[in-house]
């Protein structure tokens, strides 16, 4: 399978729709709108890449996710702020112990999953914010190994959580209750089917396949659920010093990757071969 780039949203600068200093998370909703977590703001682009709205968060924001009801969950330090699609703050979940640096948010069966990079775990909360269990912290032996400082995961249609474990060069599968089911991926220095470098893949998104990004030789790749490499989405277009590039996939299989150096969201479309 092959992909071609169709758009580059945002960019570095001070203009409307541009990002100032950082681009840490992206999310795509059912309608194809793109949400970007940059600096201390959430920037909303429509499916055509035009700027719709932008609002500020109270702290620098590390991740963003859109729930089924359209609420926008933003991950920050020690808290998750929940906005509606117009940008009005609905709720704030604060937890100094269980929420450190929230670098990924996902949803499963009405529960909210928050990736806590400080505790190296994925925390599962119910919809009212009550803590249920950890995922990934107690996997043998040392849990999620994240020298990059980012926990990222995706949830597939069956409710299985696919979490990136970069220190082990794997993407691991967990049940929402925290049981480790298996993993895909292995280390390889030169073969593109493996994950290279010290700690890859850094970020992962799941829909019908597993989509992940890597650093140091930055690239985005697609794997099937049984671990076969299906495509290398792109590698040359990213800035060489990119690290922790957030990735998202929409219903049509378009892949969105946040370039952390050029501060742009690249959009790739699969082409029929």
């Amino acid at each position: 399978m092959e992909y071609r780039q169709v758009a580059a949203i945002g960019g570095k600068g001070a203009g409307p729709g541009q990002f100032g200093a950082s681009l840490r998370g992206i999310a795509v909703d059912a309608a194809g709108n793109v949400y970007a977590a940059n600096d201390s703001q959430i920037t909303l682009f429509d499916a055509g890449g035009r700027l719709r709205r932008r609002w500020s968060t109270s702290q620098p924001v590390h991740s963003v996710a859109v729930a089924g009801d359209g609420a926008v969950y933003t991950g920050q330090i020690h808290q998750i702020e929940i906005f509606d699609s117009a940008g009005t703050l609905i709720r704030t979940w604060r937890d100094d112990a269980l929420l450190g640096r929230v670098t990924a948010i996902g949803f499963v069966d009405g529960d909210v999953l928050a990736g806590d990079a400080t505790g190296r775990a994925i925390r599962r909360f119910d919809s009212s914010g009550k803590f249920r269990n950890n995922i990934g912290r107690d996997n043998p032996l040392n849990g999620l190994l994240i020298p990059n400082g980012v926990v990222d995961f995706g949830v597939d249609a069956h409710g299985i959580v696919h979490a990136a474990n970069p220190g082990k060069h794997r993407v691991e599968r967990y049940t929402p209750g925290g049981e480790l089911l298996g993993h895909i991926g292995h280390f390889h220095g030169t073969d593109p089917a493996g994950f290279g470098g010290c700690c890859n893949p850094t970020n992962v998104a799941v829909r019908d396949r597993i989509y992940c990004t890597e650093k140091a030789g930055p690239r985005a790749k697609v794997y099937s659920f049984n671990g076969e490499l299906e495509a290398v989405v792109a590698s040359d277009v990213f800035g060489a010093n990119c690290k922790n590039m957030s990735i998202a996939v929409d219903e049509h299989g378009r892949v969105y990757v946040a370039d952390t150096v050029k501060l742009a969201i690249f959009v790739f479309e699969p082409v029929a071969i």
Binding site: A117, R120, N142, L145, I146, P147, N148, G149
Partner: protein, 315 residues
């Protein structure tokens, strides 16, 4: 000896008290945006992050020892030459100096090079030198004001190594000797000019030290060749670097003019045999009289003198 040594020792005590609080070499902080490395608590299993080693510079004790050894060696040198008049003992001292100041300390910090440091410290407000370097610069000069170039005799490592290779001295005609001797002052001027240049000091004396690469046992090929050439020439022409190039020797020569004591050939005791004139390789005896500013304290004149040494008075 002088106010300087007293001051040096007072300051040395002060410095020592400061130093007993364990010296640490400063490291330059290297800022990374987010500290994400796993820490002890995260790693668990009773792991303790080891401290990063920070090897310390040469302890201040040893630096003070260097100054002490320098002062003691100069004292011994002047005693050996002026009182004991023993050439053998002086050669032993020369070997000791080559071993300590040469191979052990690798020729650094030496009073010759310290001219540049002192010149820079006197003129550049941003540059300062530690007290041991100040002491290293001034002690031989103070010694010279009183007894002449005791430093040159068996204490300076560069001089000692040339002293030890001198086999068959060839006399340099006095006019040529005097002309070549002026090169010292030219080199001194050049070295000062380069070190005081506003574009940042260029330390010529260190760069073109012919013997330091032997002491370090490694060096650029051209300097090793030059060093070898000096030693080769030094087998026949006595101490060419000391007499014609050493900028510190120029300063010592000036100070020696004021010295009261030194090698003297007493007029009413000498035999007029001229053996000492032949023995001196450095042109320090002219017309049966010692030219103190050229005397490099080698004691060859005493060794050659047929008179019972007890009868040759020190005036």
């Amino acid at each position: 000896m002088s106010a300087n040594t007293a001051r040096t020792s007072a300051c040395a005590t002060w410095l020592f008290l400061l130093v007993t609080a364990a010296g640490l070499a400063q490291s330059i902080p290297y800022q990374r945006p987010v500290d994400t490395a796993p820490q002890e608590k995260s790693i668990g299993g009773g792991y303790r992050t080891p401290a990063v080693q920070k090897p310390l510079p040469r302890s201040s004790w040893l630096q003070l020892l260097d100054v002490g050894v320098l002062a003691a060696a100069m004292g011994i040198s002047s005693w050996l030459v002026l009182k004991r008049r023993s050439r053998k003992a002086l050669v032993a001292l020369a070997i000791g100096s080559v071993a300590y100041f040469g191979f052990y300390r690798e020729g650094c910090v030496c009073p010759i090079g310290s001219i540049q440091n002192v010149a820079l410290a006197l003129t550049d407000p941003r540059y300062s030198i530690p007290m041991v370097v100040t002491a290293t610069f001034f002690l031989p000069l103070v010694m010279a004001v009183f007894v002449g170039r005791a430093f040159c005799g068996g204490v300076c490592a560069l001089g000692a190594i040339q002293e030890l290779v001198l086999l068959k001295p060839v006399k340099v005609p006095p006019r040529l000797d005097r002309a070549l001797g002026l090169l010292k002052y030219a080199y001194l001027g050049l070295a000062l000019f380069f070190v005081l240049k506003p574009a940042g000091g260029d330390f010529l004396i260190c760069r073109f030290d012919p013997f330091v690469d032997f002491f370090r046992r490694t060096g650029p090929p051209h300097m090793l060749l030059i060093g070898g050439a000096f030693l080769l020439a030094g087998m026949f022409i006595g101490r060419p670097y000391c007499r014609y190039l050493c900028p510190y020797g120029g300063l010592l020569a000036w100070c020696t003019r004021l010295a009261r004591r030194g090698v003297t050939i007493t007029p009413n005791k000498e035999l007029d045999c001229g053996l000492c004139v032949d023995a001196c390789p450095y042109g320090a005896i002219e017309k049966m009289r010692a030219v103190r500013r050229n005397c490099l304290y080698c004691a060859r004149c005493y060794a050659a003198c047929p008179r019972d040494r007890k009868l040759v008075q020190l005036s």
